[in-house]
Symmetry: C2
Subunit: 454 residues, 2 copies
């Protein structure tokens, strides 16, 4: 593909400028869970789009604003990029080797909260656009961006926004916010996402904490109530005990089974990287793990808090206790249904005292592996990565792809700059600069091929 | 008892000076759990004893120092006061109406961490000694003080110290660190204390937290391991499921049963004061509650911590989780035995991965209600409180009375300045100044009656 030599040369030459732009964006904290810096970050993203000649609108949502940008191109085809400017909380801070909001280059990697998820994807795509504009003077197709600020808190307002703005968002295809290479440097295209239902369970048993010597034998204990309620949700064999929880789950198609069989065995890599000694549910080989990882719904305790948590001992009977719990959902489960079943379960098990605070949810959704746009994204990777993309039927993660697939009717293809040690949601989140550059080159190719495809 | 008129007049006149001394002592933080300010506080207590002509020794223990003081008196009888200068952590700070280490007077009460437990007892007893020295020029008997700094962390080094210093601590009787009046303003004498076994249970399932979308279906989750392990310790009917846990528990004597029957019904008061709607185990009336409160051993979760505990949602699978758990023990359980049985239980239930960190323990112990010293403390109260003390066979709380009763062979009687709303271990700990004064008057009477008793 010699027609990309000028584009590639531009990208090779200007990488450090794009990394500087990413560093500016990363240095702006934008933590959705803590409602920190979101408006400021939306403004920063808007100005980056405007600099490239995009018409920009910032929409209020009741939560973090949604940034929309569009610029016309040579053809009448339209590609929509979905990204988000919010990031996960950086805690625990003591495990970072450099401050999370002070992006730092070390050995070909840029470290900082959000460099991979998802700010690096925003700037590398803008970088690809810079290359197209510089070398061709125009865009090959119409490009739209929708960049939200609540992805890390279950995209609270996005679904409604999409439904209410269908003409504005109208497009022919969508590139998703993330992606990356696997342990063998093969770029992965996820065809879908698990859904999620995120709740905080809490209980209050008294007006204040009580001396455990006074109350231990006679008073209700919030920490015990919570422990027993949680225990009722999932047994020690990982079976989720909420009645009807597994209803409506779709079996794998034959084609999807084949795609899973082609995936690499990551079991040894996971053990090394995360310091685990084994997997749950007796999972042994890579294929079992790959399938379970994305096709089994989950009930994960993300956090527990109650009573005294300082050093040493304090003899106190806690009045309050709470747990953060996320359920990952697979087609065709949905969060509203799971939420209802959770309430019924707790009530029927004698836990009417456990309060459920719904913190957000998304339905699972996936694109068919047979869609032509999926093929374009797969094949354009070959020129950059040396191999075509590997298709994976579903990602273990979640995201708001449902309204894009089911309300806008778009094929959604993922591609990105991540890699196995990118540490999204964890301390020392980082990107590799070589993969950042490759993603920009890939996106330039996708845009051009897509624009001329019938 | 007109021979106390001069003593009482002194105490009435000098109350504010003693409260000032208590305020100075309270303003010195001395948090054993956090190893904060302990040496400083030991020094302060020592100087308060030296000011009264006590010979003082400060003993290193490996933990907080133990302060010993003695002063000879008119007779050859010796009374030993046991007190402690350490306090509970003040958290949660936001629930205090005035800063915990800035003692504050409001409506006849002094607020501050430790004013009741146990610094007020130290200074009110010194106040009684001041009155005796001022009015009589000498003490009626020999007085010894042992004031430790680790009571709130299970008196880690006290038992060994007592065993190694029997001649130094030799006495005829012991007054315990605490006590107070009940809801009807009747002074209570606890004849014994429950024991305690305090542990931190912790588990680590990975080197770091993992994105819950990646690991939820395949990785072990520390928060779940902890939840299941805790659930195995006690069932929802409050039955502790550790094999042999209830072994060796002594039944109530007939005399003890009578004492319990004479106690007031506090159920309504507890509901009002602590904002609870009911009691556990179906406990209904006051007598059931009074007996259960002190005669049933417990397993109390004092704190839970794991994963993300901030606002909103974070989709993380925790690598670490821990719980603080205290077991209250009754005669003749003991902490070493319970600790062994806990390990066996966890191992046999498939929780060998749960680590036990033993944070301290004490055996339960009690004094016979028939001991003559008990009678002296009961009867001398009449002149101050208008009624004699009410005997209670055991307190729900714990403390290191075992070595005093079983190694030193002393009768141990409790008496103090507490009252039902004194809020030890909780925010807004406080004392009533009228009860502070009464305790000093009572102690002066105990010292005099004890000194002339055969």
């Amino acid at each position: 593909m010699s027609n990309f030599s000028k584009i590639d040369a531009f990208l090779d030459k200007h990488l450090s400028e794009s990394i500087t732009e990413l560093s500016v964006l990363t240095a702006q904290p934008s933590i959705a869970a803590q409602e920190l810096g979101l408006t400021e970050c939306a403004g920063l993203v808007s100005s980056m789009l405007q600099t490239r000649g995009f018409r920009v609108e910032i929409f209020s949502t009741g939560g973090a604003p949604i940034v929309f940008g569009e610029r016309k191109g040579r053809t009448n085809k339209t590609l929509l990029f979905y990204n988000h400017y919010d990031v996960q909380p950086p805690e625990p801070l003591e495990l970072w080797n450099s401050p999370p909001f002070k992006p730092t280059l070390r050995e070909g990697r840029l470290y900082g909260r959000g460099v991979s998820d998802d700010k690096g994807h925003i700037t590398s795509r803008l970088f690809a656009i810079d290359a197209l504009l510089e070398t061709e003077g125009e865009l090959p197709c119409n490009i739209k961006f929708i960049i939200e600020g609540e992805e890390e808190v279950s995209s609270l307002h996005l679904h409604e926004f999409v439904k209410e703005n269908k003409p504005l968002l109208a497009a022919d295809a969508c590139i998703w916010e993330f992606g990356g290479v696997d342990q063998n440097e093969i770029p992965i295209q996820y065809l879908g996402l698990r859904g999620i239902c995120y709740v905080e369970l809490s209980v209050e048993t008294a007006a204040e904490d009580v001396h455990s010597g006074l109350g231990g034998s006679i008073f209700p204990n919030a920490a015990w109530r919570l422990t027993w309620a949680l225990n009722s949700l999932k047994d020690r064999n990982e079976k989720i005990c909420i009645a009807g929880f597994y209803d409506g789950i779709q079996p794998l198609t034959e084609q999807e089974m084949k795609l899973f069989a082609a995936m690499p065995d990551l079991s040894a890599e996971y053990k090394r990287q995360y310091g685990i000694t084994g997997f749950i549910k007796g999972l042994q080989n890579g294929r079992e793990i790959n399938i379970a990882q994305v096709l089994e719904p989950t009930c994960t305790i993300c956090g527990l808090t109650s009573g005294y948590q300082g050093p040493g001992s304090k003899t106190v009977l806690p009045a309050r206790a709470s747990a953060k719990v996320d359920f990952r959902l697979v087609p065709d489960q949905n969060p509203d249904d799971i939420l209802k079943k959770l309430r019924v379960h707790l009530d029927s098990q004698g836990f009417a005292d456990i309060n459920i605070n719904y913190l957000g949810g998304e339905s699972p959704a996936r694109t068919s592996p047979d869609h032509p746009f999926v093929g374009i994204v797969v094949e354009t990777a070959r020129d950059v990565y040396g191999v075509p993309m590997q298709l994976v039927p579903l990602s273990g993660g979640s995201g708001p792809n449902y309204p894009f697939i089911h309300d806008l009717g778009l094929p959604v293809a993922s591609a990105g700059l991540g890699y196995p040690d990118t540490r999204t949601h964890a301390p020392n989140e980082n990107i590799r600069l070589d993969l950042y550059l490759k993603h920009a080159k890939h996106m330039a190719r996708v845009l051009k091929e897509f624009s001329i495809n019938p």
